[in-house]
Each structure stands twice: as C-alpha cells, then as structure tokens.
Symmetry: C2
Subunit: 108 residues, 2 copies
C-alpha cells in the first residue's frame, strides 16, 4: 500500500472523505441522484442547513459535486455527483459491505 505523506493525493482524498457528514452526503447523492437542498437535509438526518450548505460548497470546489440552477419560478437548485464524484461509489459500496460485517461490533 502507498505511504501517506502529508498533502499527497491519498492524504487529500482521506481528508476529503473523513470530514464530518461528507460520506453521508455522498451516500445520499449516490443513492438519490440530483437532489434539492431541502431533500438532502431530510436524507442526511441530523445535519444543519448551514453545515449542509458549507459541505456542498466545499464538495463543489473539489469537483466532486455539481450545482445546477434552473431559472423556473421559483428557481430550482439541485446538487448531484460529477463524473469524479460518481467514482466514490466503489468506496461507498465497500463501506456498506463493512457495515454489514461489523454489525455485531458496531452494536456492542
């Protein structure tokens, strides 16, 4: 396995994924497809509107999430996974498998 030197791509990916709520959000977007802010708040139980907005901006800046704006009345804003973002699916699936296997440990 690769060494993790501070700032290397692996370190940056780990830091990006290990931020609070990040994987929960990626999970909701991966399962739900393009989703509105309000719906994301419902899907990610416990996240505040302010934190959700900050997280979405940070993920957008990292090229992982896109934000689309439709000038309907009222305007429609949805968030979704970019092509880069969709590559996180593999990590989400491996975490899902792990969660199923860890259930006894996780519930003790």
């Amino acid at each position: 396995m690769l060494e993790i030197a501070k700032g290397c791509p692996l370190d940056r990916t780990l830091r990006l994924l290990s931020g609070e709520w990040t994987v929960h959000l990626l999970w909701a977007l991966s399962s739900n497809g393009p989703t509105r802010h309000g719906e994301l708040r419902r899907l990610v139980e416990g996240i505040s509107s302010k934190v959700l907005t900050q997280k979405l901006r940070a993920l957008e800046a990292s090229g992982i999430v896109f934000r689309s704006y439709e000038a309907t009345v009222p305007p429609k804003v949805t968030y979704g996974l970019t092509e880069q973002g969709q590559k996180v699916d593999r990590v989400l699936r491996s975490i899902e498998e792990l969660a199923v296997e860890w259930q006894p440990a996780a519930s003790s």
Copy 2:
C-alpha cells in the same frame, strides 16, 4: 443502497471511519502490522501523541484495534488490527484506487 438512519450500523460505521485521523491510522496499521505508539506517530504525519492515544483507545473500545503488552524490560506495547479491524482493508483499497483516479481533481 441502504438508507442511513441515525444510529444504524451503516451510520455508526461511517461515523467511526470519518473521525479525523482514523483512516490514516487504520492505513498505517494495515500496511505496517502491529506497531508501537512512537512508530505510529511517525507513520501518521501530523498527529499529536495525545490525539493518537485517544484514537487508539476509541478504536480499541470499538473492537477494531488490539493493544498487546509484553512485560519485557522496558515493557513493550504494540497496537494492531483485530480480525474485525482487518476487514477495513477492502475500504482502504477502494480509497487508494479512488485517490489515484482523483489525483487531477485532488491537486487542483
């Protein structure tokens, strides 16, 4: 994919993995095998001794890491992944693959 209800096994696994330094630590233990505290501090660049001790205790309490004590002179304490902990390898590998693919995005 599973829904993530607060407190469900998937939520607990995500929270466990998304704590700061956690995946870095699991990475070092997975690559290095049973390792002493001082060596772990060297392998996980930037972590403080205090945070490392707290993290190891929390991972030990979750059944992911074991702590072995040898009454040598001086005494020898090493930390390693339990059987449950070794199951995290699959997640680490998928993150490694992702990091290699995300390099352009991660470095922008």
